[in-house]
């Protein structure tokens, strides 16, 4: 029983990480309808920014997050305004552009850091707490709690505030929202900024867990896409639960099936979900429009 429980806990905690990373991506997908291949890189940039705060100014990541998140918000605004807005109606060019950003960010960081591996983990990873009698790393538990809090906060934001309702309107039907006087372009900017800020939070909170590398963004992008597909476009609870599900799936696959083969999991998830339930667990209407699946 014990290995099972261990995997369960670690799978859920891993799921917390994926939820945190994916919530921003899901929002962007649902609203701006853009595939952002550079989302993982935004997390990576935030991780390095967090490390910088720690190494240069001695600011711990759990404080630095309040600096890094707004920084990433601004970066997100810039990317949306300069690169993505002009490409609104050209999905293929969006793929090129965001992939270009991926390569650009990855290698810029590589050039700046000269490939040195930085790590915050030493100071934090030793703290271990008890969860139902099993050991779990404090840093991961914090991520899980943060992911849950953010998911909750975001759901409240989307349902209670004007800006949030505007976002939900655009998710459901961009044309109608425009006709009702919602400034769709401004909503896009806000959403991309918000999604990037969330990536910033993820990066700051993940910095104590992973050894930094310019390529670490790539580790998140496929699971993040899998979460979006599984959880459903534009659905915050979907992204949260989807993240947990994906984390669990990866955990169990890694243990019961060969760990190397767990990379194949993403493709299997995509295909199975898209064949069985194209709108995901909790997808909003309009998912088919983005083209998860063809309608009959």
């Amino acid at each position: 029983m014990e290995p099972f429980l261990n995997i369960l806990i670690s799978g859920i905690l891993l799921g917390g990480i994926y939820s945190l990373v994916s919530i921003g991506l899901n929002l962007i997908f649902g609203v701006v309808r853009i595939v952002n291949f550079a989302q993982g890189e935004l997390v990576m940039l935030a991780m390095y920014a967090t490390f910088f705060c720690f190494a240069k100014f001695g600011i711990g990541p759990y404080y630095a997050v309040f600096l890094v998140a707004p920084l990433m918000f601004v970066v997100g605004l810039a990317v949306q305004r300069l690169v993505l807005q002009p490409l609104q109606n050209e999905p293929m060019m969006q793929i090129f552009a965001t992939f270009g950003l991926l390569i650009l960010f990855e290698n810029s960081v590589l050039a700046i850091t000269r490939g040195e591996g930085y790590s915050l983990t030493g100071s934090y990873s030793s703290v271990v707490i008890d969860v139902f009698g099993l050991k779990a790393s404090m840093t991961r538990v914090i991520v899980f709690i943060a992911a849950s809090a953010i998911a909750l906060g975001l759901m409240l934001f989307l349902s209670r505030t004007m800006a949030g309702k505007a976002i939900r309107a655009v998710i459901q039907d961009r044309q109608s929202a425009r006709l009702m006087g919602i400034n769709v372009e401004r909503t896009y900017l806000l959403t991309f900024g918000l999604g990037s800020a969330l990536a910033g939070v993820a990066g700051a909170l993940l910095a104590p867990i992973y050894t930094l590398s310019p390529y670490i963004g790539g580790n998140f992008i496929l699971p993040a896409f899998a979460v979006v597909v599984l959880g459903g476009l534009g659905s915050v609870p979907g992204a949260y639960l989807g993240g947990l599900a994906v984390g669990l799936m990866e955990g169990f696959a890694g243990y019961y099936v060969d760990p190397v083969l767990k990379q194949a999991i993403w493709f299997i998830i995509f295909v199975v979900v898209l064949v069985v339930r194209p709108s995901g667990l909790m997808g909003q209407a309009g998912a088919e429009e983005v083209g998860l699946r063809e309608q009959t």
Binding site: M93, F96, N107, F225, V271, L292
Partner: protein, 337 residues
């Protein structure tokens, strides 16, 4: 309303004329090889240039004409490379023949993975193909017996025509040039024929295509099959040229999977000669940058590549060929006034 007689006066360009035109352009692209055949540095670059032009042209069939942005072509490339290597090393089969079963295997795999993923539109298809690439990368690292695992396969140097291993480098460049020419001429025939028109229709508007009697899934699969087949052959040729095959090189997206798409973009997506022009621009440039920057700035050449991708997608969507066509049209219009 125009007189009916005019309609029947229109005749299609003869196929021979079209082939002739492109053969001429291809001959032009051979010029660098003719001039530099004795310079090993340049010949090496040209070999890569012609090979990647061919691979980009193959990608262009489904990515450019068909509008299906595949990030998974590295898989077909790798299958071709590994299969030829294994057939040559284990069965002593000459690569000249081995490329065919290798390409067939790549095609079968392509059809198997495309059949479910073609249900996805645009960006989601791209994501799924990226997932396939990652999955196959993991598989290649895992299957020691077939692929040599992470360390890969080494093909010993035994020069002989039958082994497709040459002492003189220019012979490789010539081989790649021949392959590129074949792929381009296949593209000419494709574009002109039914499948080419159907692929373009599917790219433009799937609903309109269906209403015009097109079985969209079948057309996508046919385009993908042809594309994967040619990519597999390219992988086989690559294997005999570099003779060192390992998963990180073969499955790297910036170096392989995305490179095919990038070359097509720069040259002109959905055009016939675009991939050739794109390769002639990108491959030498990248080599130069890698040499100039690579030592001082790790990843420097990729920074430029990434920037090029972003800028091109914003300002050079139709590629060089597209830009040239726009300019010539403007000149012609001014000439008429």
């Amino acid at each position: 309303m125009t007189a009916p007689q005019q309609a029947f006066a229109a005749q299609p360009d003869s196929f021979g004329l079209m082939l002739g035109r492109y053969a001429g352009l291809l001959a032009l692209s051979a010029l660098p090889l003719v001039l530099l055949w004795s310079n090993p540095y340049w010949v090496n670059i040209l070999a890569y240039t012609y090979l990647f032009a061919a691979l980009a042209a193959a990608w262009n069939i489904i990515g450019g004409f068909g509008g299906q942005f595949s990030l998974g072509h590295g898989v077909f490339f790798a299958i071709g490379a590994y299969a030829v290597a294994r057939l040559y090393l284990d069965l002593g089969l000459t690569p000249w023949l081995a490329i065919f079963p290798a390409a067939a295997l790549a095609t079968v795999v392509a059809l198997l993975v495309s059949w479910p993923t073609f249900r996805l539109r645009g960006p989601f298809f791209a994501i799924a193909t990226m997932a396939i690439n990652e999955a196959c990368f993991a598989l290649a690292n895992y299957s020691d017996r077939v692929t040599g695992g992470p360390r890969g396969i080494l093909i010993p140097f035994r020069a002989a025509f039958a082994n497709m291993i040459f002492i003189e480098r220019w012979k490789y460049a010539l081989l790649m040039f021949a392959f590129m020419s074949i792929v381009v001429l296949i593209t000419v025939a494709l574009r002109r024929g039914r499948l080419g028109h159907y692929l373009l229709a599917v790219r433009a508007d799937e609903d309109a295509a269906r209403a015009a009697g097109i079985d969209v899934l079948k057309v996508k699969l046919q385009g993908m099959a042809l594309s994967a087949l040619l990519t597999g052959i390219g992988g086989g040729l690559f294997a005999m040229y570099v003779r060192v095959l390992d998963p990180p090189s073969l499955f790297s997206l910036p170096d392989i999977g995305v490179k095919f798409a990038l070359i097509s973009l720069i040259g002109g997506i959905g055009t016939i000669i675009g991939p050739v022009i794109g390769a002639l621009l990108i491959v030498p440039l990248e080599n130069f940058l890698r040499g100039a920057l690579g030592g001082d700035i790790p990843g420097g050449h990729l920074i430029i590549l990434g920037a090029v991708l972003v800028v091109a997608s914003l300002f050079l969507k139709r590629g060089v060929v597209g830009a040239v066509l726009v300019i010539t049209r403007r000149i012609r219009q001014r000439g008429r006034r």
